[in-house]
Amino acid sequence: MTPVLQLRGIVKSFGSNHVLRGIDLDVSPHEVVVLIGASGSGKSTLLKTTNLLERIDDGQILLAGDDISDPRADVDAVRARIGVVFQHYNLFPHLTVLDNVTLALRRVHKLARQECQERGLALLGRIGLAGQARDYPDRLSGGQQQRVAIARAIAPDPELLLLDEITSALDPQLVGEVLDLVAELKQSGSTILMATHEIGFARRVADRIVFLKDGTICEQGPPSQLLDSPGRAETAEFLSRVLH
């Protein structure tokens, strides 16, 4: 089966700062791949390049076999196939919760108004926020806003979901509700590439954990192997710092 995402030798620098130094990574259908690593290790940049929000300096990105790093690729069409959730939610404050969720369905995928409403409301029901459909995002708690942001990202049934440290801006007691939703997405078969600091959660949902260090993949493997018996000293050192 063709991998949903294939990253081949991805290089990205900001000036003299070499953030990604040749990343090779495949994500298979229905696989959940978790990126871990210290701040500045390149997790966020890798996700941004995947969605073409940053232009790579070298390498190749294939989405379901299509070369999306080709300058002739239709950027908007590529992004419409990938869902992204950001650290700071980035909901649209001038739109209601429902309109946030249905915006892409209406304006990018051009579905009929009726169908958008139904899909949006069904999705909000699934994340337990049907009652807030007509509210504006500012009325919601951080955890609720992030759940809406996830609903907005998955509304068009994207082939790939990118989650960029989606719990980092949340109060500790709100993290659980967001992570439970991600676990549910995994159950329903979503393909997910996510960056996180929540090692416990990575163990719970990841099919594979990738440890990034200084812009390269230092080590990768199933959670039990990578977290419990890391093969490399750097991995063990990082884990000892984040797990105390």
Binding site: L53, D76, V78, F86, H94, V108, R139, P156
Partner: protein
Amino acid sequence: MTGPSRHPGERRDLGAVSDLELGRRAYRRRQAARSIGISLLSTVVFAVVIGVVLVNSPGWQVTRDTFFNPEYFRQALPAVWQGLLLNIRVLAVAVVGVAVVAVAIAGIRSLKGPVFFPLRFLAAAYTDLFRGMPFLIVLYLIGFGIPALGLTDQVIPVTLLGTIALVLTYSSYVAEVLRAGIEAVHPSQRLAARSLGLSHYASLRLVVLPQAVRKVTPALMNDFVSMQKDVGLISVLGAVDAVRAAQIQVAQTYNYTPYVVAGLLFVALSWPFIRLTDWLTARQQRREQIGGLV
């Protein structure tokens, strides 16, 4: 009930209010009453002082008869009112023109990338030129310059020329206000919009502009009110608007009351919009923000 202290776990009866809170409320009521009293008093004193100075000034009798004559007021009102209707028509058309041109200019000025340099440059030159040039000069140049070109055999109506001049000048102001609003929308909003697959144009229209316009509504309405007055300047091209109508009356009677009539009508025209702005801004704040005590 004496105070807020209670046993742990005891449920609070929310219908009853503690004496402490009742005391605070009474104090706030007294403070509010005092503030209102002071401001009323100072307003009355101020009005009395102004009135006394006016009435006791040596030329008050003449001034009153020349500027505030009820007889001339009644006489001038119908003609000036007819003129104001022309102002309103010109304004209505010009507002639409300004909205279209200003959004286009602001959009062009917000384009990123070296490819768009010539467009950006032209847009910047446009706003620099028409913000710097006095509106009266623009009116003269358009009002007398365009007919001089002899593009058509027909006479171009002066109201049309005045409208063009208004659009040129005010779209450059409004474009700058909109651009400030566009830049005040956090880049992460555009990022989120693009990540959904919305095009640059769609992101601008559906996500950035609505937020930008909300941020600059007071400034936009301010420009609108200012435009409402400047419509009166089209009289210099010979259009019989409110100002011109007043001028004709003044020329016939040597009494300046018609100018006061025109002035008051312009104020009456703008007042509803000024109040509407305040109301809209307040409503929007209530809707999108849960306010604190600031």
